[in-house]
């Protein structure tokens, strides 16, 4: 049973990790806690469902398409909303909470409040046998998709000029600007990538959950917890944090009680914030005042 719980936990953890990566990337770039990641995840689920059911597009096409659409939405959100309140971190956070409320309510108005499943063929197939245990198709597909996304993200950040600009801006925006980098564009691009990550997470979560206006609310919070565990602003940390959170939550729910799964997540977050505030892989930063 423990093996099954670990597999299940890692799968859910992958979804948390993608959302956490978005949080960390955006925070690293512009020091903003983007609490609307859950709402973007929900939006991507709805978009994905509409593209597959109305336009009959295959899932393999829908993933990059929705990621692109969410990237565009993230870009526009940063440009027209968050940039306007850039000078005040508190107002910035409140504006992200506002977006987090507005998007699901717009979904209710324009799409409805009923839940819908993804088509059966999405992330389908035969169970995989490993060490005598059966792994459901949705689980191994989530591992595959997230692995590809993480590899693409790493390659982009490490080997492309865009990635270099994002990393440089995240490290020291003033210095990056002095070196001739357009930090304004890199901020928007960080948002775009962070939103695209939430978009992909939404498509994966849509297979596990049903698509509804509130599907992203708890996942958005768990993604935040994943980012805290790993070290806010640290990308590998968000990945590790998500996986650890998923596994601990599933195993803890099995040992203690499934009623306390959410509580387990938040207790872990509080413990991390008290005893290791920089997270598992985060670095302590000394700021001169």
């Amino acid at each position: 049973m423990i093996f099954d719980q670990i597999i299940s936990g890692l799968s859910i953890g992958c979804i948390y990790a993608l959302v956490g990566l978005g949080y960390s990337l955006i925070f690293a770039s512009i020091s903003l806690l983007h609490f609307a990641q859950g709402a973007l995840l929900t939006l991507s689920g709805v978009m994905g469902l509409l593209l597959m059911t109305k336009l009959k597009l295959p899932f393999a096409i829908v993933v990059p398409l929705v990621a692109f659409l969410l990237a565009a939405i993230g870009f526009l959100l940063e440009r027209f909303i968050y940039r306007q309140v850039k000078g005040s971190p508190q107002v910035g956070v409140i504006s992200t909470l506002g977006v987090n409320i507005i998007i699901p309510n717009l979904i209710i108005i324009f799409w409805g409040s009923e839940a819908y499943p993804f088509p059966k063929t999405v992330l389908g197939g035969s169970p995989l046998s490993l060490f005598g245990h059966s792994i459901q198709p949705v689980y191994y597909w989530i591992f595959i998709v997230v692995t590809i996304v993480v590899i693409l993200l790493s390659v982009t950040l490490k080997y492309t000029s865009i990635g270099l600009a994002i990393r440089a801006t995240a490290y020291n925006p003033k210095l990056a600007s002095l070196m001739g980098m357009n930090t304004s564009i890199t901020h928007s691009l960080s948002f775009a990538i962070g939103s695209a990550l939430a978009g992909i997470a939404g498509l994966l979560a849509g297979k596990v959950l049903f698509i509804s206006y509130d599907m992203g609310s708890m996942i958005g919070i768990k993604g935040f917890v994943a980012a805290v565990i790993g070290g806010f602003g640290n990308l590998p940390g968000a990945l590790v944090g998500g996986l650890i959170l998923g596994v601990l939550e599933t195993i803890g729910g099995g040992i203690i009680s499934s009623t306390y799964k959410d509580s387990i997540s938040f207790v872990i977050m509080i413990v991390m914030m008290v005893f290791l505030p920089s997270g598992l892989l985060g670095e302590k930063r000394i700021e001169k005042v």
């Binding site: 209710i108 409040s113 596990v208 049903f210 509804s212 996942i219």
Partner: protein
């Protein structure tokens, strides 16, 4: 000039918050328009609007029109509380009807008991709602204690089940059904046949912790007591994990469960108070008209139960010569509410769409649970419900 405009505005605002229009029967409707119980809540609201339209077309309540003050509780107890305070204190309704969850009904009930206003729940099933001498509360829905007995007997006698597993939501609905289920098995001397008892929360994403235990126990029957969306998610995951137990459930599973669970939900047996395919002309006409108004083919019990209680009340007030005469003046609000409560308690054997409804005066479960007959139904392909013989 500015001062004059300001004073005029203040006066207009004051008027809007003070005395209401002349003698209108104000009905509060608190329903779950969104959230886990949205299909029940919305159907309850549509049925309420339809019933009110019909009653008003015949003159309303004792010659006065009904005005509905509807609030969406969104299957959220905080919103239910806000909604209750609003309809009671601001709208000053005479009577509240609620197609809303048991948890919400419990919260609203605490407020209506304190405020002394009659409240009829048309969806909530938790037994606790009618326990503890609730003077102002009535239930026009099938209570949990009527849901499990027939279901368990069917499992034991017809399905020859020997072992059970129970997964119950942490909501008041799930809690009540879980307690009932366990109590009935214990009374039959079969407590040891309940191999797994686990809880889940409404917004849970993954049920592998609970389902792995069920899989290991391999019970004949898996009882899922929760609402449609979570139950559908759970049964889909259960089937994907290879769990082959027969699934049973309660009134929380409606046509949305059948639609979402698809083939995984086929064969699920539920205990209901209403079956939309009852071959009685007035039920058939109701279903046909409901479909015409809402597009819903197979309404759940929320619509008929809400429709029935409003018509039962209107019939009583308009046709019974012994019915109290309502003043509906603002200064008589308290006495009107008391008269309405006492009138509802006299509803006896009202033959409605959802079945026989009877109340009585004592604040006991027996008196305040208006519907007592359950019916066993099974989900077939396409989410259709058929009656079990």
């Amino acid at each position: 000039m500015k001062k004059m405009m300001g004073m005029t505005l203040m006066f207009v605002l004051f008027l809007s918050f003070s005395a209401h229009g002349a003698e209108v029967f104000r009905l509060g409707l608190i329903y779950d328009g969104t959230g886990s119980l949205a299909t029940h809540g919305r159907q309850g609201k549509w049925a309420c609007d339809w019933a009110v339209e019909e009653i008003n077309s015949k003159g309303g309540i004792q010659g006065r029109k009904i005005e509905v003050f509807a609030e969406n509780a969104a299957t959220d107890t905080q919103k239910a509380s806000t909604a209750a305070y609003k309809v009671i204190t601001k709208d000053q309704v005479h009577f509240i009807v609620g197609p809303t969850s048991s948890s919400n009904s419990s919260v609203i009930q605490q407020i209506t008991e304190r405020s002394k206003i009659p409240y009829v729940a048309t969806v909530g099933s938790a037994d606790a709602l009618t326990e503890g001498k609730k003077e102002w509360f009535f239930r026009c829905s099938l209570a949990a204690r009527f849901q499990s007995e027939d279901l368990i007997n069917y499992c034991l006698n017809v399905l020859k089940a020997k072992t059970f597993a129970l997964l119950a939501a942490t909501s008041a609905h799930g809690q009540s059904l879980m307690e009932n289920f366990t109590e009935i098995l214990t009374k039959k001397g079969l407590k040891q046949s309940l191999l797994v008892v686990e809880r889940f929360k409404d917004k849970d994403m993954d049920f592998s912790s609970q389902l792995l235990k069920v899989k290991a126990a391999s019970p004949d029957i898996l009882a899922i007591y929760g609402f449609s969306t979570e139950a559908a998610r759970m049964v889909t995951q259960a089937r994907a994990m290879g769990i082959k137990s027969r699934v049973v459930g309660g009134t929380g599973l409606d046509e949305e469960y059948g639609r979402l669970a698809e083939s995984a939900g086929v064969g699920t047996i539920v205990s209901y108070g209403f079956w939309p395919k009852v071959p009685i002309p007035k039920v058939k006409n109701f279903i046909k008209e409901f479909h015409k108004r809402t597009g819903v083919d197979q309404p759940n019990f929320a619509g008929p139960q809400t429709y029935d209680i409003l018509h039962a009340f209107a019939d009583l007030m308009n046709k019974n010569p012994n019915a109290p005469k309502l003043s509906l003046k603002d200064d008589k609000l308290e006495s009107d509410r008391l008269a309405i409560r006492d009138a509802i308690a006299t509803i006896k054997k009202y033959d409605g769409i959802s079945g026989n409804i009877s109340f009585c005066k004592d604040p006991t479960p027996d008196c305040r649970d208006g519907i007592k007959d359950s019916i066993l139904l099974q989900f077939k392909e396409g989410g259709q419900l058929v009656k079990l013989q």
